[in-house]
């Protein structure tokens, strides 16, 4: 595998075509293949079940053409025994196979596809390069329907009672993208039961899809699909909201298939002796959502429960956090450090550039005339050595480069080959081995961005390759050695907020061996959880919270400061200094990382007589009343819940995520205590995602009545003396009904706290709903854009306990990445300010997205911009914003970029 350079010669020659499973069977690939172009590592593999040589002993074309002799037919699977302290399971999910459902005729009708096939159709690397066509005739569709809950929320045909959590959102996304990919106006319709767009920014995406993009949403289940045999169009038969039977014709139907655990995975779980729940997902507990039933084995992603990317990423880091805590004593015991010779100073030398032009077997050399490029390079100013290589990246070439740098006294190296994105680090290490600073290196991308993309135009490709080498050499003359200072790390963290999230982060870090300062504004720990009764799985929150508080307060590495808030903070990743203010005065804390877990609070409704009638309660008040044994609860004959109070409205357009589950859990409790009581839930969409769906089912079985309402016709509440009258239009009867409630429970929104001061202090950003913004919605869900500061719990977005805990453990894990190092190495490509030119205008500070540059007093009375190198990502926005030219970026100064512009077309194209 080490020898494979992913040139693809083998696949080009392989005579055996097989179905491409990555492209959902919509295309073919060869028996020797790379699963997808972004694969890491990018290496070809032989599909042994299809390979002609492996089956019949004849063929072997791939081995003949492979330029690096990377193919070894004798390779066999080997069993390896590893000694490990923790195991993390991240095996993912399988999609539901809709062939079992004859209603949709997936295996018969060509234009009925799954959502995963649609993903491939829409992908630029898919079977049609992102050109949207339907399978039967490769014609552009004009009308597409998505059918939701295929293999989810269905115990009738497929035995999957749970909600797959992600399908509503991906269907909306696919509909929007399909419209964007379509040349002609495209009609898109999503047939659904409840729209479950409960994640951060999801609801506004759903609204935009409907109102701005014109995606149609139809709340109904399609009964039959009939194919027109002549056109292969599909006629969908369904009953609309008014009970009318409708036939509508579509060009294509996408089945939004759900997630499930495969048989193989269930077998693996049995071998590992971990418990699975009834749906074959790994059984976990709300308070330890990534711990399996077996100590030391952790789980993350959709094998735990169907979930989306951000939450899978959070769980992955959470699993790492707890696995790390188990392994803390062994940390660093297997690491080795490579040593390099001292760097040779080159600043006073004239440029002596070595150019190495790679043939990459025939990948470059077969198209670009490499000898011609090399010959041209010899004449460029500053170049003192030029060499061609068959493979510049091979081990012997590295030795050779090192040798030549030393013998010829080279002080800069240009490699014309593949791409710096994959190979820069390798060559930079070779330079360091040869005693040169790693920044004295430059690559010319003559493979990925030249020979591979101009394979039919050899002369033009050669001409371009020459230009690329000329540009690289011109730039290389101007680049210099850069220092990479190291900064010591304070191995401690400040956790702001002592709720469940804050305490989880604190424990996660302290268990890994770091000192934690836990700051809580209130007089006691616990936050919102102090008012909560149970999790959706039934864990008693009070008991578990007490255990957690006892562990936190008893932990030798956690210093708890209640009644304390943050007053001021300075510093940066690894080196923060924060002043906290409490009952005993101010205190200065030094720490290397910050976790913001300030939570959120329940909305105080102004509607439905709340605050004016004692029979109107919010969720938290209901839980408190249950805990206190309020006699009104047992005597209530009729209880009405109203959902989305303050959520999913113009003022607060987001979904508060936890309320549907919470209302249903409470409704079941009423029904259990008094089966003869009447319980109504007035809702807009029921969003009991994942296995919470079983609560919804249980509630209906127990006789809880669900009545849907729309924003245009909200329920009306009035005081009738003994009871509260709730008037609402019943969606089944199609007329208004009046309920007489003894108790009215409002599913009040979850609203952010006032984060302004904290946001200012740490330079954090908030979204339009005033929840904190993570660095990346999908891939960095617990980090802020400013390095060293992390985010957990409801300060990020409303979420249930198990998700707050996973996110908080994830934040601890990400913080520990820094805290586990004695020092951090600053990259060389950072901004710097020439103070004598700076007029302290602050434009750079406003431009910087990373909080890495600020105007401050540098000496008595003199103010200038100063770069915090540890935070700087080298993006250069400050350099562009600077009106005087005082700020610039090392390695990407104006001259070193412009010289490439000047030499870009020297060969005359």
């Amino acid at each position: 595998m080490d020898k494979c350079i992913a040139c693809g010669e083998c696949a080009a020659k392989c005579p055996k075509k097989v179905t491409d499973t990555f492209n959902a069977g919509l295309a073919t690939r060869k028996a020797i293949y790379v699963e997808y172009p972004q694969a890491v590592p990018l290496k070809y593999a032989i599909d042994a079940g299809s390979c002609i040589y492996l089956k019949n002993g004849k063929c072997g074309f791939c081995a003949k053409v492979c330029p690096t002799k990377a193919i070894n037919f004798e390779d066999k699977p080997v069993a390896v025994t590893l000694q490990v302290g923790s195991v993390v399971l991240a095996p993912g999910f399988s999609t539901f196979d809709p062939q079992k459902l004859d209603t949709y005729q997936y295996s018969q009708y060509k234009n009925v596809i799954t959502s995963l096939e649609m993903e491939r159709l829409l992908s630029a690397t898919g079977p049609f390069n992102g050109h949207l066509v339907r399978p039967s005739d490769h014609r552009e569709p004009k009308k597409i329907a998505w059918l939701q809950c295929i293999g989810s929320r269905d115990i009738n045909r497929c035995d999957h009672g749970y909600c797959s959590s992600v399908c509503c959102m991906y269907a909306v996304k696919e509909a929007v993208i399909a419209k964007e990919h379509s040349a002609e106006p495209l009609d898109t319709a999503i047939f659904y039961m409840d729209m479950r767009t409960y994640g951060k920014e999801f609801e506004s995406y759903y609204k935009r899809a409907e109102e701005e993009k014109g995606v149609r949403f139809l709340r109904t289940r399609v009964h039959t699909i009939i194919e027109d045999r002549n056109t292969q169009d599909l006629v969908l038969r369904f009953v609309d909201d008014n009970g009318k039977l409708i036939d509508e014709r579509f060009d294509m139907v996408v089945l939004s298939v759900g997630m499930e655990t495969s048989k193989e995975l269930a077998a693996l779980a049995r071998r590992l002796e971990i418990e699975l729940n009834a749906d074959n997902f790994a059984a976990t507990d709300c308070f330890s959502p990534v711990k399996t039933s077996r100590d030391g084995i952790y789980v993350c992603g959709a094998f735990q429960e169907p979930k989306d990317i951000p939450y899978s990423v959070m769980e992955a880091s959470a699993a790492a956090c707890w696995a790390e805590a188990d392994l803390a004593p062994a940390r660093g015991t297997l690491t080795r450090t490579k040593t390099f010779p001292a760097e040779r100073p080159v600043a006073d030398e004239e440029a002596r550039i070595g150019v190495f032009v790679c043939n990459c077997g025939t990948n470059i050399g077969g198209i670009v005339n490499v000898p011609e490029v090399a010959e041209m390079a010899k004449g460029l100013p500053g170049v003192t050595y030029v060499e061609e290589n068959l493979f510049t990246c091979s081990q012997d070439s590295q030795e050779k480069i090192k040798d030549i740098v030393e013998k010829k006294g080279l002080n800069r190296v240009v490699v014309a080959a593949c791409t710096p994105r994959t190979h820069e680090a390798l060559f930079q290490e070779t330079l360091r081995d040869a005693g040169l600073n790693k920044y004295l290196f430059e690559m010319a991308n003559i493979r990925n961005q030249c020979s591979w993309v101009h394979s039919k135009e050899k002369d033009a490709a050669t001409s371009k390759a020459k230009d690329l080498v000329r540009m690289a050499v011109a730039r290389t003359r101007l680049i210099t050695s850069l220092g990479q200072p190291t900064i010591a790390v304070e191995p401690s963290a400040l956790v702001i907020g002592g709720g469940i999230a804050g305490m989880t982060s604190a424990l996660g870090l302290a268990d890994q061996g770091y000192q934690v300062y836990l700051i809580e504004k209130e007089g006691q720990l616990g936050g919102n959880a102090r008012s909560l009764l149970t999790t959706w799985k039934g864990d008693k929150v009070g008991e578990r919270l007490a255990e957690m508080i006892a562990r936190v307060t008893g932990h030798q590495r956690i210093a708890v400061h209640t009644g304390t808030s943050v007053k001021a903070s300075s510093g940066f990743i690894g080196n923060f200094e924060t002043v906290v203010s409490g009952v005993s005065g101010d205190k200065v804390l030094r720490h290397g990382a910050v976790v913001v877990a300030t939570g959120a609070e329940e909305y105080k409704p102004t509607e439905y007589l709340y605050g004016r009638d004692p029979r109107v309660l919010t969720h938290l008040q209901l839980d408190q009343a249950v805990a206190a044994g309020d006699p009104r609860l047992a005597s209530a004959d009729t209880v009405v819940f109203v959902q989305c109070v303050g959520s999913r409205e113009e003022e607060r357009p987001y979904c508060s995520k936890v309320c549907c589950t919470h209302s249903i859990k409470a409704a079941i409790r009423f029904k259990e205590n008094r089966p003869d009581s009447q319980v109504f839930i007035i809702y807009r969409d029921i969003r009991t995602y994942g296995q919470r769906e079983y609560l919804y089912k249980e509630a209906r079985e127990k006789g809880v009545i669900f009545i849907r309402y729309g924003l245009d016709e909200k329920p009306e509440v009035s005081d009738k003396g003994d009871t509260l009258a709730v008037v609402v239009r019943d969606h089944v009867l199609g007329r208004k009904i009046e309920l007489h409630a003894n108790l009215l429970v409002l599913a009040a929104a979850i609203v952010p706290r006032d984060n302004e001061a904290l946001a200012q202090m740490f330079k954090l950003s908030c979204n339009s709903d005033k929840f904190f913004n993570e660095a990346h919605a999908k891939l960095r869900p617990v980090e802020f854009a400013t390095a060293g500061i992390f985010l957990a719990g409801m300060a990020h977005y409303p979420k249930p306990i198990e998700e707050s805990i996973a996110q908080a453990a994830a934040a601890a894990s990400r913080a520990a990445v820094t805290l586990s190092q004695e020092s951090i190495t600053v990259e060389g490509v950072v901004s710097h300010v020439q103070q004598f030119m700076c007029r302290a205008c602050g434009e750079c500070e406003r431009a910087c997205p990373f909080n890495a540059i600020a105007v401050q007093e540098v000496e008595d009375g003199l103010r200038a911009a100063v770069v915090k190198e540890a935070l700087c990502k080298g993006c250069g926005m400050c350099a562009v914003a600077c009106p005087t030219g005082a700020a610039s970026v090392r390695h990407f100064g104006d001259r070193s970029v412009l010289t490439m512009v000047e030499t870009a077309f020297a060969a005359g194209n």
């Binding site: 172009p37 994105r421 994959t422 493979r447 993309v453 993006c875 870009a904």
Partner: protein
């Protein structure tokens, strides 16, 4: 003058996205005309408007900023 007009295009590509996308186009063997020269920067935020003008000044017929 003979043949069709072939514009010279200078492209500034962000290291983290557009430059990687151009690499991926190579891995996927997409074919496109060879009259494009890609210059890698760490972020398109680094592109000073002057860079674009300098592109034209130095003979480019088009400047593409991608990131």
């Amino acid at each position: 003058m003979s043949g069709e007009f072939t514009p010279k295009i200078v492209m500034f590509a962000c290291n983290w996205c557009a430059y990687s996308a151009a690499d991926l186009a190579g891995v996927s063997r997409f074919q496109y005309p060879p009259n494009l020269r890609i210059i890698r920067v760490m972020c398109t935020g680094r592109i000073n408007p002057n860079f674009i003008l300098q592109g034209f000044e130095n003979g480019a017929d088009g400047v593409l900023v991608a990131g």
